[in-house]
């Protein structure tokens, strides 16, 4: 089982950056007015932040990182590990982490690489970064996490367009004497079709055909270069596998929901997240939501929710359960303690 503990890593700061442009689902013309109301009520996404063309995850994550360097006073030359978690990279190659290393002027003796995961990406990124820090002795690491998903959604696809928002985040980690963090990671590639962009990779190279929007079985219109999402499959996966694995994870770590300050979940959709919350018996005040204002921001959703909902309380010690789940299918949980996280207010770009 991919379940492990890491001692002695702490979060120094978390920052998040979103596009300035606010798009409301009440203005989504593909749906009737009553359908829009139902969508907002059920899915829970009222507004989303949408990036302009050619502004990328790199831009938002680096802006967040700059803010973090400023507010924490950490010297960027001390960063010896930088991980970029994204599925919306700037180029086929090189990896986005290298572009960030240059943009942020991180030193050359810094290990930098990408992790290509979406909704589960933050918990994976934290686990990988903490493991490397502990085994290498690297004192300070920067975890950049985010996605610009809106550019890949067809306006005429009601199963994706109203859900997603764009964001980039930065988390600064450092070695410490305290804390024990626990992780559990899971994978099920049999669900690869549940959330997918079928064309544009090596399996289906981009052709003129990839750009043509066609009517699909579910009545939506999209091209093969667009994001496809099988809502029912994802829903089914999320309300079974997530609570089931969280329950085991908490039991293995002798932790009960009452012992935790917060359960920060990937912001997928309200109906789904509420089903998970109720199954796991967390109180509503333990489970913060940013979904209504920022939508599903893919890998960024957990740190973004911490910034938007918890920035005022993060200077105090907290015990939190983080849970990311989605595209892959991939899911991962982290049980972390934080002490004094510097958490600037949401940044806009």
């Amino acid at each position: 089982m991919a379940q492990f503990s890491i001692s002695g890593v702490d979060i120094k700061g978390i920052a998040a950056c979103v596009p300035k442009r606010v798009v409301s689902n009440f203005d989504y013309e593909v749906l009737s007015e009553s359908e829009r109301r139902m969508l907002v009520k059920t899915i829970g996404v009222e507004t989303r932040r949408v990036a302009p063309k050619y502004t990328t995850t790199l831009d938002y994550a680096c802006k967040a990182a700059e803010q973090l360097f400023e507010e924490t006073g950490v010297d960027r030359s001390e960063i010896k590990l930088e991980i970029f978690v994204t599925q919306s990279r700037d180029y086929y190659l090189p990896s986005t982490a290298l572009l960030a290393q240059q943009r942020l002027q991180l030193p050359q003796d810094c290990m930098a690489f990408d992790i290509g995961l979406g909704c589960s990406g933050y918990t994976y990124g934290l686990g990988v970064a903490a493991s490397i820090m502990r085994s290498s002795g690297i004192q300070k690491a920067l975890l950049l996490v985010g996605d610009v998903s809106t550019v890949t959604c067809s306006y005429n696809d009601t199963s994706t367009y109203p859900l997603f928002g764009d964001a980039g985040t930065a988390t600064l980690l450092e070695l410490t004497e305290q804390n024990e963090w626990n992780f559990a990671m899971y994978s099920d590639g049999s669900g690869e079709d549940a959330i997918k962009i079928p064309h544009g990779g090596m399996r289906h190279l981009l052709t003129a055909d990839s750009l043509e929007e066609r009517k699909r079985e579910d009545g939506n219109y999209r091209a093969d270069l667009h994001l496809q999402l099988d809502g029912l499959s994802v829903f089914n996966f999320s309300i079974t596998k997530v609570p089931e694995s969280v329950k085991l994870f908490l039991a293995d770590n002798k932790t009960t929901p009452e012992q935790l300050d917060y359960f920060v979940m990937h912001q997928a959709n309200k109906l789904m997240n509420e089903s998970i919350r109720k199954k796991l018996k967390f109180n509503p005040d333990q489970v913060p939501y940013s979904l209504d204002r920022y939508g599903n921001t893919s890998s960024a959703s957990i740190p973004l929710t911490i910034v938007s909902e918890l920035s005022d309380v993060m200077s105090e010690p907290k015990k939190m359960l983080l849970s990311g789940f989605g595209v892959g299918l991939s899911w991962g949980h982290a049980l972390i303690q934080t002490n004094n996280v510097i958490c600037p207010k949401m940044i806009e770009l």
Binding site: E35, L39, I43, T158, D218, L232, T240, N269, L271, S275
Partner: protein, 76 residues
Amino acid sequence: MMTIEEFIRKLEEEFEDIERGVLQPSTDFRTIEDWGSMHALIIIALIDTEYDVTLTGADMRSVTTIQELFDLVKSK
């Protein structure tokens, strides 16, 4: 043990726009006004929470009327 009347009442509570008494065991639930994938999600979530049965997309596609849906949930 739940009855189909209770089941219908719970569906009516979920779909606020539906007037009491409109839904019958023989109702094809896809004829609910503005029926769409969101209704299916709501039904799956309701059944999951209330009856601890998780229906799949294929399960939903295999039934047409509320009676058939009810029977499917009971059989699981």
